[in-house]
């Protein structure tokens, strides 16, 4: 074994984490963006007969007879 202990460079560790974090962050951003309609209030499918009704305040949709 070598007497000299060569420590891993913190810059190298940072680089390695950035390499994997950037694509993950991009994927996360895209997914959050796609999920936004869930929270935008437009969760209910607007029935054709009431096109002006505000989606967020609609009651049970046509597909849900309850």
């Amino acid at each position: 074994m070598s007497d000299i202990t060569k420590k891993s460079s913190p810059a190298l560790i940072l680089f390695a984490w950035i390499v994997v974090s950037v694509p993950l962050a991009w994927g996360l951003y895209r997914s959050v963006k796609n999920a936004r309609p869930l929270f935008s209030g437009a969760t209910q499918a607007a029935p054709a007969a009431t096109p002006t009704a505000p989606a967020a305040t609609q009651t049970a949709p046509a597909a849900n007879p309850k």
Binding site: K7, A16, V20, P23, L24, G27, L28, A45, A62
Partner: protein, 453 residues
């Protein structure tokens, strides 16, 4: 093969930071996790001839294309099972490099298959050759991390397997962007997308190959003192892969994984449609819901698995099963009160525990069988996942279709399956409770020290 890939050349020198290993593992898992996003290619693959629409009798059909994905997943399990011991012998670097060659080579072959419109070539490339890459790439980084983090095995495996979950978040939009970029009047862009993905993933996976190391014999983290009194289920010995499959604990854990995954994958595969059927939301909102679940699937892998380092593996699985069963039973209630928000919250927690189940299992194996051949044992256990990938979605599909055919409103067609999923989880709880420490008679004698991954 160059000696750079040899296991002897991957043994870490003193001073090597173990924090370089998780990104190496993530780099591989994030790439092979692309398989979860394969569905974005389904429709384009059925329009290779017709481009704007599928030409009946000439273009491939959706069920045909589905076989490519199914084959890849089946081969993932089989290759992990068969090649697990080879992985232990040659070490993680050669395995990860082979995985990159198979996975990316498979994409290249599939690209040619698309160009020639030859289904067999696409199936062979993505399904068979790519599937081998999936199996090898799945187990090698996990077993390496377990050896680097004896103090936090749950967190370590959670980090790697989180990458596999995250692969879909990256792979699906990446595939869509590439197809949009390359599509033209004469091409749907799949052929070019496959080639570009092969190139990008090959680079990324080999960054992981370069960084990965195995700990030297006898290495322990700085300041780490193994607990004086070992926990009841945590062994300090090792059991070989061949011996492990002879003990009931392995098969109980196989059932635990299979049942936990069956329940979760049933929802994950049907998320968008279920949300639309139960609450009448638009397809765009349904797709957004599926995307949201993917985030929780990914996050759950890290969070729950890390938590298991404090609670113990058996206890955390009890939480997955008990809380999971309660939440499944709540889903019909969310439909009755017509609350999308509560439904989303409930399913998000369920899916996080599905991911957690995946990520916690290598640490559970390490507790029961030691680190010596944990990769090979993990490879054998993954067949439970292959089984669950068939059982879960088919159960939901079949029962909900049956209910709809028999006049049950679409919004209520999933209620029965939710109760069945809760039942599967309770069965899993029973299997988990039956797991005891492995009898020392199965231990490997004169077990080698560390430095093997």
């Amino acid at each position: 093969m160059p000696s750079f890939l040899d296991r002897e050349n991957t043994i870490a020198e003193p001073g090597f930071s173990r924090w370089l290993v998780p990104p190496a593992a993530l780099a591989v898992h994030m790439c092979i996790g692309e398989v979860y996003g394969f569905s974005v290619f389904n429709v384009p693959l059925t329009r290779i001839i017709g481009i704007t629409q599928s030409v009946k009798g000439q273009d491939w059909t959706i069920p045909q294309v589905g076989w490519i994905y199914s084959t890849a997943l089946i081969v993932l399990g089989l290759s992990a099972f068969v090649l697990g011991k080879w992985v232990e012998r040659v070490g993680p670097r050669r395995t990860m490099f082979t995985s990159a060659c198979c996975f990316c080579g498979g994409l290249v072959i599939a690209s040619f298959g698309v160009a020639w419109h030859n289904f067999l070539v696409v199936w062979l490339g993505y399904g068979l050759v790519g599937g081998i890459g999936l199996g090898l790439g799945y187990i090698a980084p996990v077993s390496t991390l377990v050896k680097w983090f004896p103090d936090r095995p749950g967190m370590a495996t959670g980090m790697a397997i989180m990458g596999f979950g995250g692969g879909a978040l990256v792979g699906a939009p990446f595939g869509v962007e590439l197809m949009n970029h390359f599509k033209s009047a004469t091409s749907v862009g799949v052929q070019e997308a496959f080639l570009m993905m092969a190139a990008c993933y090959f680079v990324m996976m080999n960054i992981g190959t370069t960084f990965v190391r195995v700990p030297a014999a006898g290495w322990v983290p700085e300041g780490y003192v193994p607990p004086a009194h070992a926990k009841k289920l945590v062994t300090t010995s090792n059991v070989t892969a061949d011996e492990a499959i002879k003990v009931p604990q392995f098969w109980l854990l196989w059932a635990v994984l299979c049942l936990n995954v069956s329940a979760g994958i049933g929802i994950l595969g049907q998320a968008s449609l279920m949300c639309q059927d139960m609450f009448g939301v638009t397809a765009a909102v349904g797709a957004g819901f599926a995307g949201l679940l993917s985030i929780f699937n990914m996050a759950g892998r890290f969070v729950w698995s890390s938590l298991s380092d404090y609670t113990g593996r058996k206890a955390i699985y009890c939480v997955y099963f008990i809380l999971g069963a309660v939440l499944y039973c709540l889903i019909p209630f969310t439909q009755r009160i017509n609350s999308v928000a509560v439904f989303v919250a409930v399913t998000a927690v369920i899916i996080s525990m599905y991911g957690g189940g995946f990520a916690t299992v290598p640490a559970y194996l390490r507790d029961l069988f030691g680190t010596m051949q944990v990769g090979a044992i993990h490879g054998r256990l993954i067949t439970a996942w292959s089984m669950a990938a068939v059982v879960g979605p088919q159960t939901i599909n079949y029962i909900s279709a049956y209910q709809k055919e028999h006049g049950v409103p679409k919004s209520e067609a999933y209620n029965m399956t939710m109760y069945i999923m809760a039942g599967l989880l309770l069965l899993g709880l029973l299997c988990n409770l039956l797991i005891k420490a492995v009898d020392p008679k199965h231990n490997f004698q004169a077990a080698p020290q560390g430095g093997n991954a």
